[in-house]
Amino acid sequence: MSEKQRALEALAAAQWKLALRLTGAMMAVYFGFILLVAWAKPLLGRQLVPGLSLGILLGALVIVTAWILIWIYVRWANSHYDATVTRIRETGR
């Protein structure tokens, strides 16, 4: 196995690990929300301040979580991933 291939495989493994973790996080948050909707209806109906029920707050937070996870991925990809790709392209390892 060439050095280049080894570097590529390490990069692919790192990318896969992060992608899998972030996908898992999104699924956990979203399915957690759905299960609360199904099983804890009175809890989600509790109003924290007038007009803001826990359900509405958590629902908005699921959308915000999607943004944050994407931001984490893009930050990693724009710095670490792109730099490694450029290095492998240019130096071959």
Binding site: S2, K4, Q5, L8, E9, L11, A12, Q15, W16, L18, A19, L20, L22, T23, M26, M27, Y30, F31, F33, I34, L35, V37, A38, W39, K41, P42, L44, G45, Q47, V49, P50, G51, L52, S53, G55, I56, G59, A60, V62, I63, V64, A66, W67, L69, I70, W71, Y73, V74, A77, N78, D82, V85, I88, R89
Partner: protein
């Protein structure tokens, strides 16, 4: 409350003609730049990240989500928001697993990626079946929705509405290809986001710009239960099944996947998903305000009086806060939304027919460029005619379930094969074929046996399969079948070409082979 909905509205007709004129001018401009198959399907790979982000948002935010979710919230409160959230959470999955591999490994369709290291013919046929199934069901839902909506908004007959949508959309696709379709999506996304934002602001002005005051007012007048989960999600398994189909279906919709070929490189594909998720999330957060705004300002009874399903909540709200002129603007935006989504769907169906089936299966990848270009346009005309025919055939049918069905097939037929082909070395041709076909047909069969068809459409007392959406069964099944069949049918070339594919996946199509 009286409404001018359903009678010809001068402002609506003015804004509609303005939109059609502008987009046809764009099409004329795009037609002069569309000289090859690469332009026709991928806009010459010249679209920027922000542009593609808007176009993705345009492709994804259908009239169903604008009108349907606002209506659902206006009638049943919190339950409608569950859809808002479900439609967004697929985008991170698109980002982490799909966008960049797609850009680096494919040319025009997602089958390019699945077939990359496998045998072309069997994979392409199976993928085209999945794609055409998704596109057909999505198209039926959009066309029937368009006919009903335009009848309600403008008072013109259903069939005329279908023919107008079909003719304008075909002009975009046939002459302007992906470049025109992309710009139609961008114009539509800006109009939809701007219109929804303006509407939300005009609602919030009445509540001191505080959404919580609006929600509190709704709870005061219609009871605190409008802010709590209700009967929509009664069974947790049902909820999970719909949730997983919405989430993974997004990452398997052919007209969305096709967009990643319009950008110059993987980095731009990445930034376009960021922009798209930003815009789409913002839009779905606005639906919270639009829905409760319609509930409080228009009132559920007035909304139900116009349309039982609540689809007219947003237009009625526009009329209540901004008068007839604003109603006309929002009505035209809704029409534009349908036109744009139908154009995107037709283009992806045409790509499956011409690029996958004709060029790569019938002609074994050896068709000359001018033939590919011609076949692509013939397929676009065919797609347009078929969608008009489907719209007319399904007139008056209950087609609301078809969007859910399209997502279920996309999630079970396309998503598993795509992920396995990119990330799992032992994947084989037979495995891909089995996964895609089992995904498509198990989703179709279980939908047919589910309460969605048996009870809601056929009016039977009960259904043999308990879940309304089959995703929870069919997605794991498709993964499992794909993996088991792959392990039983070792394919040396497929495993050996995995390294070359990884090389191209990360370093891009320009990089030399190992």
């Amino acid at each position: 409350m009286s409404t001018s909905l359903g009678s010809p509205n001068f402002a609506a007709i003015f804004f509609f003609f303005l939109f059609v004129s502008v987009t046809l001018a764009i099409t004329y401009w795009a037609a002069r730049r569309t000289r090859s198959t690469e332009h026709f399907y991928a806009a010459g790979r010249s679209v920027t990240g922000l542009q593609n982000g808007l176009a993705l948002a345009g492709d994804y935010m259908s009239a169903a989500s604008f009108l349907g979710i606002a209506g659902l919230v206006a009638l049943s409160g919190f339950d409608g928001l569950i859809y808002s959230i479900g439609f967004l959470v697929g985008w991170p999955v698109v980002m982490f697993l799909i966008a960049e591999p797609l850009r680096n490994l494919g040319r025009y369709t997602f089958s390019d990626v699945v077939a990359y290291r496998l045998r072309q013919t069997p994979v392409r046929i199976a993928a085209a079946i999945g794609t055409l199934a998704v596109v057909t069901f999505y198209l039926i839902a959009q066309m029937v929705g368009a006919g009903n909506l335009i009848k309600l908004l403008f008072g013109i007959p259903y069939e005329w509405a279908i023919v107008i949508v079909g003719a304008v959309m075909m002009a975009y696709v046939l002459f302007g290809g992906m470049l025109a379709t992309t710009w139609v999506q961008i114009v539509k996304a800006v109009l939809l986001l701007g219109g929804a934002f303006l509407l939300a602001v005009m609602v919030l002005v009445r509540f001191a710009m505080n959404p919580l005051a609006l929600f509190a007012n709704a709870a005061e007048r219609f009871g605190a239960q409008v802010l709590a989960p209700g009967q929509l999600v009664a069974d947790p398994l049902d909820a999970l099944s719909l949730g997983i189909a919405l989430m993974l279906g997004t990452a398997g919709l052919p007209h969305i996947l096709m967009r990643f070929y319009t950008v110059p490189d993987a980095k731009t594909a990445r930034s376009s998903v960021s922009y798209a998720t930003g815009f789409i999330g913002f839009f779905y957060l606005l639906t919270f305000i639009l829905g409760f705004g319609a509930m409080v300002i228009v009132g559920p009874d007035a909304i139900k009086a116009v349309d039982k399903g609540g689809n007219m909540a947003a237009p009625l709200l526009a009329e209540a806060v901004g008068g007839e002129g604003f109603l006309g603007f929002i009505a035209a935006v809704a029409f534009a939304t349908i036109l744009a989504v139908v154009a995107g769907l037709t283009l992806s169906g045409a790509a499956a027919l011409s690029h996958d089936l004709w060029v790569n299966v019938v002609r074994a990848g050896k068709a000359p460029e001018h033939e590919q270009f011609l076949v692509a346009r013939v397929a676009a005309v065919l797609g347009g005619l078929v969608s008009v025919a489907l719209g007319i055939v399904f007139k008056g049918e209950n087609v609301a379930y078809m969007v859910g069905l399209a997502f279920a097939i996309a999630a079970s037929a396309n998503f598993p094969a795509l992920v396995l082909s990119v990330f799992w070395r032992p994947f084989t041709t037979r495995g891909a074929q089995a996964s895609m076909l089992v995904g498509t047909f198990s989703a179709l069969l279980l939908i047919f046996l589910s309460p969605t068809i048996q009870v809601s459409v056929l009016g039977r007392a009960s259904a043999p399969f308990p879940l309304r959406n089959p995703g929870l069964v069919t997605i794991p099944l498709s993964f499992l079948v794909g993996m088991v069949v792959s392990l039983l049918t070792k394919e040396r070339d497929a495993a050996e070409n995995f390294d070359g594919m990884q090389h191209r996946l990360h370093l891009g199509p320009e990089a030399d082979q190992v």
